[in-house]
């Protein structure tokens, strides 16, 4: 008698967990994300400029960061994490919480869609980093 409700509960739980873990990558995967305020991809860049391209399969991110006046490219594997009721993605040795922001948020400067990647404290340093991305 209990088998059907139990099976339904298991399936529902698995789906919800799956959905929770995939959500940040589902939002990010696909187009180029530029750090808000960056220059163009092809032109000269300034320190702090960066372009991120997330891929869902395999889970990875191509990071173009400005060094000198040109972009240097590197690829990082992306994993998902979840702890203490929070979840997000991890790459390049840092864990990030991902949040979609409205274009009206000052940091988005009118860009939509706008995503915020905020690092989670790692216990080694007090400094946390926040990256605001837009297409």
């Amino acid at each position: 008698m209990l088998r059907i409700p139990l099976a339904l509960f298991t399936v529902a739980t698995s789906f919800s967990l799956f959905a929770q873990e995939k959500a940040p990558m589902a939002e990010l995967a696909g187009p180029l994300w530029t750090v808000i305020g960056s220059g163009t991809a092809m032109g000269e860049c300034k320190p702090g400029d960066a372009i991120y391209t997330f891929k869902a399969e395999p889970a990875q991110v191509v990071v173009k960061e400005c060094e000198g006046r040109t972009y240097k490219t590197r690829t990082e594997a992306v994993t998902t994490w979840s702890a203490g009721g929070k979840s997000g993605i991890a790459f390049g040795g840092a864990r990030y919480e991902v949040k979609s922001l409205p274009a009206s948020a000052p940091a988005c400067k009118g860009n939509s869609p706008c995503m915020r990647l905020a690092t989670v404290p790692d216990g080694k340093t007090d400094a946390t980093r926040t990256i605001y991305l837009a297409h």
Partner: protein, 158 residues
Amino acid sequence: MEETPPKKTTDYSKAVAPLLTVLGISVGAWQFTSQMSHESKMEFSRSMYTKKLQAYEQVGKAVGDLLVVPHDEQLWISDGDTLAFDSCLERFRTCYWGVLPLVEDSTVETAMIQFKDMARFYRRGENDYHDLAREGMSLMNACNKSLENHWSKPKKGD
């Protein structure tokens, strides 16, 4: 009749008595030293607990002040509240840099950083009041746990 020479007997009791005395004094001294050491450790732990409690009370006050700034617990910060919010955030930052580093453990430190970041995000209109209140509760829970663990856990890297 032949006379037998008297047997040479060693009187061990003469040697044992001073040995026992020395042993007794040594054990007594060791017990006294160990008791004193335990007492001083307990005294240090007690004073650390008191300091921790006072620091966490200050943090609790700063968090509470920040959370009551938005009148009616409205979802987003209003322009009228920003000045008071900034002033309370300043007090929280004073606790963060000035009071807690001496007593906090890693869990409290992480919760402090997360609350500080969330206050910043709330101030910028990126997160709502519920997120800020949730982080505030997490921080106070971390402080509570830290006090509970003070007497029970062995200190490892904290």
